[in-house]
């Protein structure tokens, strides 16, 4: 009951934020929502299936570059097309990468995903003609539901129609993911996480389902990446860099990977915390390193792990 009330209050707060929050706070919520979508995918792999990917930024970057390439090079400005294309590109890349990665588990899986992320980073950096090299590619302002909102300046656009668009997509992503986690497939993934050998002996197609989870995670990553790139207006190679994958894992640990909403809470808290700490000290990485250590040692369940509830991811 309390959880439901808190959830409703959170939804109302997010819906009414544009009326009460400053534009600056709203522009911080945008990447938090985008990360929330990407992390819902990452947590299907980690929280639900038990595979820790250190290369999820690969798919976030793919989504961002899809948005950049479509708006700047192909003249496609429809955000709906961009989001669908980002999902499609992420899925297409996830098929070969996933087929290779899910042959391994634990640290080997993690290292392989890291390797693919680094490969893509190098590709973005070196193939200047296609990717813009270290400068990246600009992401132009998209149209939302076919409307250009030409009368709004950049901040008004981002904190108005775009804000609600991303919030709506986050809600859809969360509902879809909830459905997946609670499906027979979701149960099979949890069985794989708990004991893959036993799962195989009761007929669970372990490697195949890990592969499906990998591709689904990638699609969420791609969609999150496309939405992430719109407010910053840029897709650059650092999006695929391993530290970015590390940040994604950090957000997940911070929010709590045992909990279905951990990814979203983690993304929001991380973004606001990062902004606050960066404004106070240039040694923000030092502070975050210490914070990560504290979370892992003292609060392994993350922020939502502090709630007295059953695991829901």
């Amino acid at each position: 009951m309390i959880a439901r009330a808190a959830g409703i209050a959170a939804v109302i707060a997010l819906l009414s934020a544009p009326l009460v929050a400053t534009p600056y706070q709203l522009t911080l919520l945008l990447p938090a929502f985008a990360y929330g979508i990407a992390l819902l995918g990452l947590n299907l792999l980690f929280g639900t299936t038990g595979l820790l990917s250190f290369g999820h930024a690969l798919f976030v970057a793919l989504g961002a570059y899809t948005a950049a390439w479509l708006t700047t090079r192909a003249g496609v400005l429809s955000l709906e097309v961009i989001v669908l294309a980002a999902a499609g590109v992420a899925a297409v890349v996830a098929v070969p990468v996933g087929l290779l990665c899910v042959r391994y588990v634990k640290i080997y899986f993690g290292m392989l995903t890291l390797a693919f992320g680094m490969l893509f980073y190098s590709f973005l950096y070196k193939f200047y003609a296609l990717t813009g090299g270290d400068e990246g590619i600009r992401v132009l302002r998209p149209t939302v539901l076919g409307l250009p909102f030409a009368g709004l300046d950049k901040v008004e656009f981002l904190t108005g129609p775009f804000y609600y668009y991303v919030l709506a997509l986050l809600a859809v992503a969360a509902l879809v993911m909830r459905r997946i986690v609670r499906s027979p497939f979701g149960l099979s993934l949890r069985a794989i996480r708990e004991n893959a050998d036993k799962a195989a002996f009761v007929g669970v197609r372990v490697r195949r389902y890990r592969f499906y989870a990998f591709v689904i995670a990638a699609v969420f990553g791609g969609v999150g990446g496309a939405l992430l790139a719109v407010p910053t207006g840029l897709a650059d190679p650092l999006l695929a860099y391993w530290t970015h994958s590390g940040n994604l894992v950090f957000m997940l640990l911070l929010g709590g990977f045992h909990h279905f909403l951990g990814p979203i809470v983690g993304a929001i808290v991380f973004i606001f915390l990062q902004d606050t700490v960066m404004s106070l000290t240039s040694y923000w990485r030092f502070v975050f390193g210490g914070l990560l250590a504290v979370v892992v040692i003292f609060f392994p369940g993350g922020l939502l792990g502090l709630l007295p509830s059953e695991r829901t991811a």
Binding site: R182, F185, S188, E194, F201, V202, G203, Y209
Partner: protein, 252 residues
């Protein structure tokens, strides 16, 4: 009578070590078979080969007439052979009901249903409830598996294998790690459940001779990778040499 499960001249070598040296075995429907033998006789290797986990170095394994050498556990589960392990092997974080549901979902071929509602799937939960009832776990469906007492964990492990509605079930030391007092309860439940669910054959690897002689229709004694003796309990008990080698004690 045609054999349900059949091993023909099965060999398995690990480097220069020969674990199985030409084992031929035919198990028809309706038998409770115990595989016995001293440590290193090849019991576990034989079970691993029979369940398709290991590919034999030579010979064939047929299940219902199909060659299943090294096909792997998932395919074998689909064909109708289930296995439970020596060590208690559950999904610690899942509830009792969910643990059984994993197998039911796999049997019904619904594991890839991404958007179906599991909670609303009556067929799955009815099957879960009936299996749980057979194993006396009906009252603990909502309990996390890791919180069960050891004997019940063992039963849950076996129950999830039974939920596949297999024709043959292989049990690796079903009573190991279970207290002496609980041993016979576990076996009784297991044998009754097998009868109720239409399991045609049970094959077990077992050290406990009370259990072996108390429940088996047939005993296969392995020694150094070969079948030393194969017959009903009475015929083995009559053979002092076999009893000494395999059981480690002469007939009383």
């Amino acid at each position: 009578m045609t054999a349900l499960l059949e091993a023909v001249d099965v060999r398995k070598c690990y480097g220069t070590f020969t674990a199985l040296d030409g084992v031929t075995l035919a198990i028809p429907a309706g038998q409770f078979v115990s595989i016995v033998g001293p440590n290193g006789a090849g019991k576990t290797t034989l079970v691993n080969v029979l369940t398709g986990l290991l590919a034999p170095s030579g010979g064939t394994v047929r299940f219902k007439g199909q060659d299943v050498s090294g096909v792997g556990p998932v395919r074998l589960a689909q064909l109708g052979m289930a296995r439970a392990f020596q060590l208690v092997n559950v999904f610690p974080g899942l509830t009792v009901g969910e643990t059984i549901a994993v197998a039911v979902v796999a049997r019904l071929g619904r594991g890839a249903r991404l958007f179906g509602s599991l909670a609303g799937d009556r067929e799955v939960w009815d099957a879960v409830a009936s299996v749980a009832e057979l194993f006396g776990l009906g009252a603990s469906l909502g309990r996390p598996a890791r919180t069960l007492p050891q004997g019940d964990k063992k039963l849950l492990d076996v129950a999830s294998a039974f939920a596949l509605q297999p024709e043959v079930i292989l049990l690796d030391e079903p009573t190991s790690g279970v207290s002496t007092a609980d041993k016979h309860r576990v076996m009784e439940v297991l044998v009754q459940a097998a009868a109720r669910m239409g399991v045609k054959s049970i094959i077990q690897v077992e050290h406990d001779m009370d259990i072996v002689f108390g429940y088996s229709d047939r005993i296969v004694a392995l020694h150094q990778g070969r079948v030393l003796a194969d017959g009903p309990p009475a015929s083995l008990q009559a053979n002092d040499e076999v009893m000494a080698t395999v059981v480690g004690r002469a007939r009383a």
